[in-house]
Symmetry: C2
Subunit: 419 residues, 2 copies
């Protein structure tokens, strides 16, 4: 057995063994542990930032791209934001033990569906250190043990954050092994976690296509993916065009490198001549390239023709595909063909059209008159998120503490036997 395998199996088994203590602790103890994490992040700020500086220096030397360096970087403000997010999760209602429904059968059996933790959750992610704390405190809130495996370039930072997590657990009298950080950059760790059927109850890969593929190729435990977003904005004939412009600009330009940014704009032919020329200027002023269908090309000077591939590409950059459609029907068909089921928006004052769009678009999040950028655990009010599920099973959309639970049935009788 490799050293990595032995190491990962040992810490995962220890975390699974600690899951019961987390699940059976009362909500106040879990809250105290999360608050303890926030306090420890502040108390340990200087050592966390020092560890992050070493990671940054190594990553710079190794030639990591500037965008990735920015994701990796912590400073006092970002660390405080991470502690504040932990406190927001501490303020969330505790989901464990919640009665989801209860009913009595004709034979007198009283059946109750109760929310319970999943058990041990493995989360595999990339360079952003905030994920370490967000994921850990959401697992704490939901009574789950976890194994965290961040990017190798953030290993020192994550181990320093891990000390704050251990402080938080210890301050509430919970076992520190319940939140385990994989202390090695060896990629084999991911395959080991995905193969621990019966110990790891769920694995959540959060990252680019390479990471997702690495996890799903080998996983024998259930996977909930945080995958790509090819998000659409559809500007309907009856749209408020100023609102539409503000939403398109926000959805494309405010943070183009994230999964809930828009990739494609669909515009009804009736309003395209009034909408697209003005939008072309606004987007050009923001340094945004447009890739257009033949009709939109005529209305957007400086655009270039979209290839067939563009319609199915997550650009993650200041590039927007634009297509003029005949009507709602054609917009729905385009989204069904090219969308990734993440987030889509309709801009219209026509409530009937809006209703049809909300009903018929088969995506995790469907918006009426708002930006797709709101698909986010924090923006939904979950305090933080483990990721955004683009799958359909177990959880769909932003995953907060409740999405990390399952249920059990308790059945109370007075001697009933089956006839």
């Amino acid at each position: 057995m490799s050293g990595t395998r032995a190491q990962v199996e040992t810490l995962a088994r220890a975390a699974r063994a600690s899951a019961k203590a987390l699940a059976l602790a009362n909500a106040g103890i879990r809250t105290a542990a999360i608050r303890g994490v926030a306090a420890a992040l502040r108390a340990r700020a200087s050592e966390i930032l020092a560890a992050n500086r070493v990671d940054l220096a190594e990553a710079t030397k190794g030639g990591l791209a500037p965008a990735m360096l920015d994701r990796l970087r912590l400073d006092a403000g970002r660390l405080e934001a991470i502690a504040a997010a932990a406190e927001a999760v501490a303020a969330q209602p505790d989901p464990v033990g919640e009665t989801l429904e209860t009913w009595t059968r004709p034979n007198g059996l009283r059946i109750t569906r109760r929310r319970v933790p999943i058990g041990l959750i493995a989360i595999v992610y990339e360079s952003r250190p905030n994920v370490t704390i967000d994921a850990a405190v959401l697992c704490l809130r939901s009574g789950n043990a976890c194994v965290l495996r961040g990017g190798s370039e953030a290993l020192r930072t994550n181990l320093a954050l891990g000390a704050a997590l251990a402080d938080g657990l210890a301050s509430a009298g919970l076992p520190t092994g319940a939140i385990a950080l994989v202390p090695t950059a060896d990629r084999e760790a991911v395959a080991v976690l995905g193969g621990m059927d019966g110990v790891v109850d769920l694995i959540v890969p959060r990252g680019g296509p390479g990471l997702i593929a690495a996890v799903t190729a080998t996983a024998r435990v259930p996977v909930v993916k945080h995958d790509a977003g090819i998000c659409h904005i559809y500007v309907h004939t009856a749209a408020d065009l100023s609102m539409a412009e503000a939403i398109v600009v926000n959805a494309k330009c405010q943070r183009p490198g994230v999964c809930n940014a828009a990739e494609t704009l669909l515009v009804d032919a009736v309003v395209a001549p009034r909408f697209l020329p003005r939008l072309a200027e606004t987007l050009a002023a923001r340094g945004t390239e447009t890739r257009t269908c033949p009709v939109a090309s005529q209305l957007m000077p400086g655009s270039r023709p979209a290839s067939e591939e563009d319609w199915s590409t997550e650009h993650l950059a200041l590039i927007l595909n634009v297509r003029v459609v005949a009507d709602l029907e054609e917009a729905l068909a385009h989204i069904a063909r090219h969308g990734s089921g993440h987030s889509e928006a309709v801009i219209t004052t026509d409530t009937g059209a809006a209703r049809r769009f909300l009903d018929e678009v088969d995506s995790a999040c469907v918006y009426h008159n708002a930006s797709t950028r709101f698909t986010d655990g924090g923006e939904f009010g979950f305090g933080a998120e483990v990721g955004i599920s683009t799958g359909r099973l177990h959880a769909r959309g932003p995953m907060g503490a409740r999405e990390l639970t399952t249920w059990k049935f308790t059945v109370e009788g007075s001697g009933q036997v089956r006839a």
Copy 2:
């Protein structure tokens, strides 16, 4: 490409394409389709029973075991029970579109979590023809298309039942391809379905360990397993011993070959001398063998010593393991070590002990003073069941129509963009 692969892929793609019509139909249409299935089962009774007689004759010739022949056999009474189960599902509340929760964010966004169908569900099962109808009508109730793959020995029966399913869909104006029966006995069909990532949204294997292993070994789509049950009954010091005896006999003897039958009895040492000798007589009179720990051996004449393997074996036969334990603590530890997370029961008049058992036993269904045999979709009031999930992800315990749904978020705004 093999003929089986082409055939299965074609019908699965057609079913996935029909899923939208099922999902967007209103509840009344889905109800009409299910009632139409029940009516068609009665109208086609003679041809269904004739097809079943041919399957039975072939299976007898092929040397199928008597227990399996009994599972395969239909008669007028069993067929009527299947039609009645369909009608019970028709009477269930329609889950599609149900608002699970709705809230408004400080920025005015109104977020609603709505229940929606999963899409296309593949169900792979063995010889019981009732599963064909139960699974199909639960998929209909929940707005899902499905692909059904029953045991090869039941192929003619299932195709005859499939004609009734098509009648039901057609009678409500729904596409008949939305419920597809795999019309071949070729085992490759299972691997093909499990590999159709992006077309098949969920695969449910319902059967013995061989079937489960065959599906999970190759599946790339999410799997919810209907797996084995090693169910326990724990008789606490404060048990009503008459009630305990009735429950043990029911849980073991009423139908020993099913997953919710009990395999192991745990008895507190204080009551064992009063309880076990009497139970030994009752079980012996029912032809039930007992496999005992050294202490229980003294109290149960005619028992044989349990091997270490017995405690972790699903006997599926009139064999009961019996162990005397010191207390609740030891019972909980035994169940944590040997249980399969299916169903366990505590028999006691002590509500504190009962509460602790219900809280701490980590199984899909946990009973107080009732038989484990109630873990069943029909007994829970779901009308029928697709299976009993022994996994923790997505669904746990009996799976009815609601367990075949996921959700989407709709977000209604007035021009909100993200800061």
